[in-house]
Amino acid sequence: MVLWHLFWAFCVANILGYGGGPPSIPLIQNEVVNHYGWMTNQEFGEAFAFGNALPSPIATKLGGYIGYQVAGVPGAIAALLGTIAPSAIAMIVLLRFLTLFKTAPQVKAMTQGIRPIVAVLMGLLAYEFFRDAVIGPAGILHTILLAGLSYLFMERIKVHPALVISSSLLYGAVFLS
């Protein structure tokens, strides 16, 4: 039963996250944390941070990792099938009808329409992680410092995210333990 739920949860999140992997992140969070309660928000955040710091597509890393945590290798396979199979099969079957899709205005409208909502969902998640950090062991000063520094290094100086994540882990091990 849990395997079917894993398949279904990741299938829904990835199909509704129209426009590639990143838009499906908040939908995956909603299924995994709020709906099925497989993980806490904190655990999901850790999976997201590591997934973001490592290469290759984000949706398969989240699906495979969460599926594995919930139900071992069969869980990982079920979640990966839900993530990959429907769109991969559609891709192979539909290519002969390509001309129908190529210039369809619906594609642009749907991609455009979903963006503000994904932005709001991501913003709400960001708020939750900052709030948890402030009321958690990090406290307000460490949170401001870590957030400021990681923004500066990741987005302004363009240091690799993997390096920023490892530095913050090191910072936590030294100053927050």
């Binding site: 495979g64 993530t83 769109s87």
Partner: protein, 205 residues
């Protein structure tokens, strides 16, 4: 054309591609078009167009099509595996190792240290999605972007509407709206051409 090459090409694209599937397209292009010549430029842009139109992660859709074209279903399995599984195993190993020591104060400190960074990453993604929505519409559309943002904020927080349902409704709305608009434009165009036909017949007659 061997399974080994299919594996290598997508393995390289997978381990070199950061920031999710969409940023991997140039890497897949480098392997599939330039290096191995599995497909040409025109076919590549065709499958990108189709992959963009379909939901789901984009890198695995590209892998599925190219692998299937070369070697059938087994080829698609190899390319999808190569692009996603090696790094996934690495991630399960890394996090598994870390969380064996979940209750040690050092790992608790690490977990606390990473939290604000997760917040920053989410906030950056939120900003990127909003600015993409904002920049790609004209003046009239901007009001609509604000409307959608405010309405979805209220629906998601105050009224606790499920994000999946909200997104499904917006996708359906966008689809219907653009279909109606397309039909209306077609109708205007065909009426215009009908009128020019009429005038030309009148003139000739």
């Amino acid at each position: 054309m061997s399974y080994g090459q299919l594996f290598n090409g997508f393995f390289r694209a997978g381990i070199l591609g950061y920031g999710g599937g969409p940023s991997m397209l140039p890497l897949i292009h480098a392997e599939a078009v330039k290096k191995y010549r599995w497909i040409d430029d025109e076919e590549f842009s065709d499958i990108v167009a189709l992959a963009n139109a379909l939901p789901g992660p984009i890198a695995t859709k590209m892998a599925a099509y190219i692998g299937y074209k070369q070697k059938g279903f087994l080829g698609a399995f190899v390319t999808i595996f190569a692009v996603s599984i090696p790094v996934l195993v690495l991630m399960i190993g890394l996090l598994g190792f870390l969380f064996q020591f979940r209750h040690s104060p050092i790992v608790k400190g690490m977990v606390a240290g990473i939290q604000p960074v997760i917040g920053v990453m989410m906030a950056v993604l939120a900003y990127e999605f909003f600015s993409k929505a904002w920049k790609q519409v004209e003046k009239r559309g901007k009001t609509f972007v604000i409307l959608l943002t405010v309405a979805s904020s209220i629906l998601l927080t105050v009224l606790s509407v499920s994000p999946a349902i909200l997104i499904a409704v917006v996708l359906a709305g966008a689809f219907l709206f653009s279909t109606r608009k397309q039909r209306a434009e077609r109708k205007v165009r065909s009426e215009a051409s009908y009128e020019t036909d009429q005038t030309s017949t009148e003139r000739s007659g």
